[in-house]
């Protein structure tokens, strides 16, 4: 169990709702949910959610910490924003899903082989490094993230797509050797570092 996780259990004992309110992006909204279920009917990957948003909110209030944080459900969110425009209580559900996923990951509780988690990390690393997305490295990285054999299989499947895009000048193989970046990389990275620092100091403060 990660240290941060142990610390959070100590601090919030049996009050998972308070923990979510304090530490999860837009988590203070969870208590406003009136359990109407509209959001749960809105997710494009609906059948693949073990616990749709409304259920997750109920579980948070019921203190089902382990079950919520280890769930793959919030990683099924496609950021379609259907729920947000429909929720009668105005909950920013999309952001709460992202926030829960991020928090679970931060505590080391997210399911280890969650493909969207791996992709999201690769994406973030890719932009922090260069300031802009390098689509070729990102997609190669994604296709190989489940190991070499899987990667070659997926790459072969994607080869026709890649070739078509190359011909249409929509994929540049030279990107692999550098590609697009921002000029002031160090400035941009300094901003991200500083932002991280501020955010971590805040979580520490909640620890009391």
């Amino acid at each position: 169990m990660s240290n941060l996780n142990t610390e959070m259990i100590e601090k919030y004992r049996n009050n998972f709702l308070k923990e979510v309110t304090a530490n999860v992006e837009e988590g203070e909204w969870v208590k406003m949910c009136m359990q109407c279920g509209v959001c749960s009917g809105s997710c494009p990957f609906g059948p693949h959610w073990d616990h749709p948003p409304q259920e997750l909110f109920m579980m948070i209030r019921a203190g089902k910490r382990e079950e919520v944080l280890t769930s793959s459900s919030m990683w099924m969110c496609t950021s379609c924003y259907n729920c947000i425009v429909r929720c009668p209580r105005g909950l920013p559900i999309t952001h709460i899903m992202h926030g829960l996923a991020h928090y679970a990951d931060r505590l080391g509780m997210a399911p280890k082989e969650q493909p969207t988690m791996k992709f999201a990390h690769k994406f973030w690393d890719n932009i922090v490094k260069n300031g802009r997305v390098n689509e070729l490295k990102l997609s190669l990285g994604v296709y190989f993230m489940n190991g070499i054999a899987e990667g070659i299989k997926t790459s072969l499947k994607m080869q026709a797509v890649g070739l078509g895009m190359y011909k249409a000048k929509r994929l540049n193989p030279m990107e692999f050797f550098g590609g697009h970046t921002v000029k002031d990389k160090s400035g941009m990275q300094a901003i991200i570092e500083k932002a991280k620092e501020i955010e971590e100091a805040k979580i520490k403060k909640f620890e009391g």
């Binding site: 992006e25 494009p44 990957f45 693949h48 099924m76 496609t78 950021s79 379609c80 924003y81 259907n82 947000i84 425009v85 999309t94 992202h98 926030g99 996923a101 991020h102 990951d105 931060r106 493909p115 969207t116 992709f119 999201a120 990390h121 994406f123 973030w124 690393d125 932009i127 300031g131 802009r132 997305v133 689509e135 997609s139 994604v142 499947k157 026709a160 797509v161 078509g164 895009m165 249409a168 000048k169 929509r170 994929l171 540049n172 030279m174 990107e175 697009h180 921002v182 002031d184 400035g187 941009m188 300094a190 901003i191 991200i192 570092e193 500083k194 932002a195 991280k196 501020i198 955010e199």
Partner: protein, 299 residues
Amino acid sequence: MAKKEYSFYPGCSSQKGASAANYMVSVDAMCEELDVQLNEIPDWNCCAASIGYAGGGELPRLAMSARNLALSEQANPGQDVVATCAACWLATKETQERLHEDDGLMEETNQALSAAGLNVKADQNVRHMVEVLIEDFGYDELGKHVKRPLEGIKIAGYVGCQTNRPFGIDGESYENPKYLDKLVETMGAEPIESYEKKVQCCGGALAFSEQDKSHELIKGIIEAAYDGGADMIVTPCPLCQANVELYQDHINAKYNTKFKMPVVYYSTLMSVAYGKDAKQAGLNGQIIKAKQLEEIAGK
């Protein structure tokens, strides 16, 4: 009409050699016709998209968009920020709004920005290109520039998610927005008004990580266009465009379908209708060729 200027945020997918490079080409052609000058934000960075959340926490993500806003204020003061990518627009607009609503967040963000000597006020409007077209020009004005009406082409307007929610286009509904249909009509083509998948999600970034689940959604989007009698799909979103166009072969192999549905940008349609040639309209960027548009552009 006098020249209009905007501070422009092109975004990663529109860069040279990237997946939506053809979008940019057609936007340039369209803007030339409409006398719009796009002043690119110098040294802009990625918006972190929606999927940046696992690696980046809330503040680092907001700070990335805030950097773009700060650079825009420096280089293009007083100009609205305009984005062509739905995800870029959403992330930037969300940042702008949240900084305004929350003084604490504004202070923390500026603290982070000061690490690179920047400061943000975030009091500009952040708009999608489609808003510029509809609000600053309007359908009548847009129609006046049509030189080659797209007669006889039936087009399904696929609005998708993030150009539509949570912000949407003023005066349009979330569940049944009509602006793409109106644009199609303005260009002289025939909109499929009963296209029921117009706001269906394509899987977004999860088309990478959850391919099977996304392909199922994309299949529905294409099928409904065929059912409605469409010759092609039009969209304002680079991720929708890529997802719906690129995976048709995979979907055909998996579901035994015979999809071959061109998916174009509104700016491609407009460029062709405005008399630009195939290259200027970005038509050579189509993986699935839009033959009817090529024919009109070749005249």
